[in-house]
Amino acid sequence: MITLSKVTSITGEEGNFTVTVKKYPRYVDMDACIACGTCAEKCPAKVVDEFNEGLAKRKAIYVPYAQAVPLKYAIDRDNCIYFQKGRCRACEKFCPTKAIRFDDVETDITLQVGSVILTAGFTPFNPAKFDNYQHARFPNVVTSMEFERILSAGGPFAGHVKRLSDGVEPKKIAWLQCVGSRDMNRCDNPYCSSVCCMYAIKESVIAKEHLGKDFQPTIFYMDMRTHGKDFEKYYDRAREEGVRFIRSRVHTITEVDASGTLNLAYVSDTGKRVEEEFDMVVLSVGMEPAQSGIDAANILGIELNPYRFVKTADTSPVSTSRKGIYVAGSLQGCKDIPQSVVEASAAACQASVSLSSARGTLVRDKIFPAELHVAADTPRIGVFVCNCGINIGGIADVPAVAAYAKTLPHVAYVEEDLFACSQDTQEKMVDVIKKEKLNRIVVAACTPRTHEPLFQETIRNAGLNAYLFEMANIRNQCTWVHSQEKDKATAKAKDLVRMAISRASLLEPIPDLSVPVSKTALVIGGGIAGMTAALSLANQGFSATIVEKSGILGGAALDVLHTWKGEDVPSYLNDLIRDVSANSNITVLLNAEVIDASGFVGNFETKVRRNDSIQTILHGATIIATGGKAARVDEYGYGKNPRITRWHDLENNPEMLADANSVVFIQCVGSRDENRPYCSRICCTTSMMQAIAIREKSPDTSVFILYRDIRTFGERELLYKKARELGVVFIQYSLDKKPVVTETPDGLLVDVFDPVLQQPLQIQADLVNLATAIESAPNEDIAGFYKLPLNAEKFFMEAHAKLRPVDFASDGIFVCGLAHYPKPIDESIAQAMAAAGRAATVLSKTAISVSPLVSKVDTGKCIGCGLCAEVCPFGAIILEDADGKGYRAKNISASCKGCGLCAASCPQKAIEMLHFKDEQILAAVCAAGR
């Protein structure tokens, strides 16, 4: 990891690039800095804090935020008094580890790499330059990024929402959507930023949690675009919780009085001019590509699109114009966190395809000395009490704590350290352990959550098993939170050390645990997603088996003619099917169905039925790509009249359009209603493309689109703009006033209420095309076999909606395509590549190390009641038939996450949780009370 750096040049080609990177000076020695914060406390220079969007101050020597990685200070040269005026150096004087380096200089680093991935992200749109938003003039007009910081418990007001003008809690806040998006008059960003509708709803709901039930949030919008997975339900819930949504663009903001209250003027949906007062206004600012990303793209020599995002094709969504250089995230186009994470894994997958022959050549496993056998020895505990500079030693009496530790049973050695985590102390610790023949180690310092791995590595270097180690958290949970009560902090530190020593004396070594990996993947589903995933793995040298239910490959894409950027889908699909069929690493099983599965990461066993024969496939990873399809509905007369069609029927039967004078598209048919409370994401764009094609071919044909909200997210907005310019008529309808289609002798009649004219309209139509909901495949069986969760609409539920969009909570199983949620082809391909990339993290290993902190069943005591298997959230305990003795519980170590629920619930006490055995926990518990 290289911080404070920029790419300055690149030469070479795919597989062998030489990149130079300029590294700017930090002026702080990263190895010496222990992030104690003394420097920032003493630094006299106050600087605007960009992390808090300018709402707070930081110092000239700083970490951007409390959880920053690396947690090391840096000097901001432009604001440092010493650099600007030649005097000060307070930080240097007070730094306890002498980490300040005023003589640090810029350096150039040359790197040899096989691929490059560009992920420089976005910049929030800056509304200050436009006077209509009044952001620069009125303190109570803030941007959404500023409001995020205002809401944050770690922000400038510690999560207390207040107005910037007078510090008063707001009663009414208005969010204004599409600031810096969908606007050609002022900001010239014609695209939709995709994320603002959702974050505005989130901010309004959280603000309501902070401010109570009298708080009135209002969102002014053009179209609400909640097209992501489970977003529509969030929108529904926000309305129920009292968030007011008004379809209008606010045209004038004025201040009404000296306190800063604002007056908003807008035109209501019935055409009336309205004025209303609000305490605050939040501008939902859009995204622009980061300047640093544009600069890097120019240096790397890759093409940008007209809006300065990195140019990509729908069928190769993470490849740039230069081979070997890939892009992911919001630098490619506006998108939310899950889609960015998907692309990140997709880019990692693509970057490694061309390098697969060099896999593993530049990484090395660390080798530790052989472990000493100390399990049977009497405990000789070494205790290291850390001062953490003054963080602990300045409050608790560390010499007294150390002296007390010496008096406790089994303690053989005690020392005090200024910084237990520093490099030199680590080396010293290894020597002491060997010299004093210590066999259990206690470090009383900060939190094990950050520092346990470091100390475990240290004791392994001394030949001890990593689990013969315990920490006493006397900083985060003691001196930092009891800094006004020094005596009590010392007493508590003594108790915590006693508890740790008591537990340490009972700790046992636990051997490493690893499971072998079968280097092949099973892909369920042979659509674009499944085939892309299989091919991405095959091209990296792994074998894959595709199980397809139907008799042909292609899936839902067989009906599609173009991607939204206009790329030809049938020829792409032909090439893909040809590549998959010709690849010797891929086996395709058509007319095949999964009928049972068992196993865990690295070692799955799946039974597949094909025709009448059943085969068992062993595989290390599983990719779920079961797809989805457009629903058949009986609404609007579908199925009763050949002039009423759905989705791609008209495109695929162009003769139907030949003599049509009027075509009506109806959106949200079966989506966003009670039965399917989700948005199908792709229908607006699809109807838009068809409407454009009709008007371009025959400008005399009238085309109407009846919609609820137009959701042409991202640069798809340009299609909406083009359709309007071509004279497509858009009429908005609401759920309680749905259009009505009736058959007449000369065709069809569509009745709809026009909200702009405030009166009903009647449209003579030759054809009515329905954008019906995209449904999931019947996924219940697959979900049952692999124990995977489904959401209410039977789409697979990923492990984490934001951070793990292709993973499941169970390791080694991944999801992509329509099986996850309705999505366009480019997103399905990206997600398939991501699933393959994630699967490669499993398949590239010969064995997977898993945490050895697992439960152990004593089959002698087990009575086979099955309670443990019932409570285990990870499917890690199964019941096995024990010849003639009924059932016995068995732990699947590879699936066990070490929570210990089984141990706590076992009525026979037949299950032990390693490292958290009853007696080990009780040792600490009993020591606490004394």
């Binding site: 409390a66 003691c478 009993c926």
Partner: protein
């Protein structure tokens, strides 16, 4: 009873409540010092016997958070 200081044993889940207690430290949120933390990998690991033993061994209360 005025000067009574209880001793509370707190079973905190490593992934949430324990992390929260750490964060309270990072944020320097001051609070009374009578809590003694036992870290567990899940609050579901806490067997009722642990609580009984805590009370028997001189603790005045127990907190399970996760």
């Amino acid at each position: 009873m005025e000067n009574f200081e209880p001793k509370i044993v707190a079973f905190l889940c490593n992934w949430c409540a324990y992390a929260g207690a750490d964060l309270a430290g990072v944020s320097r949120l001051q609070h009374p010092s009578f809590m003694r933390t036992v870290r567990v990998m899940c609050s579901g690991r806490v067997d009722p016997i642990f609580i009984i033993q805590a009370l028997k061994n001189g603790c005045d209360g127990a907190l399970v958070a996760g």
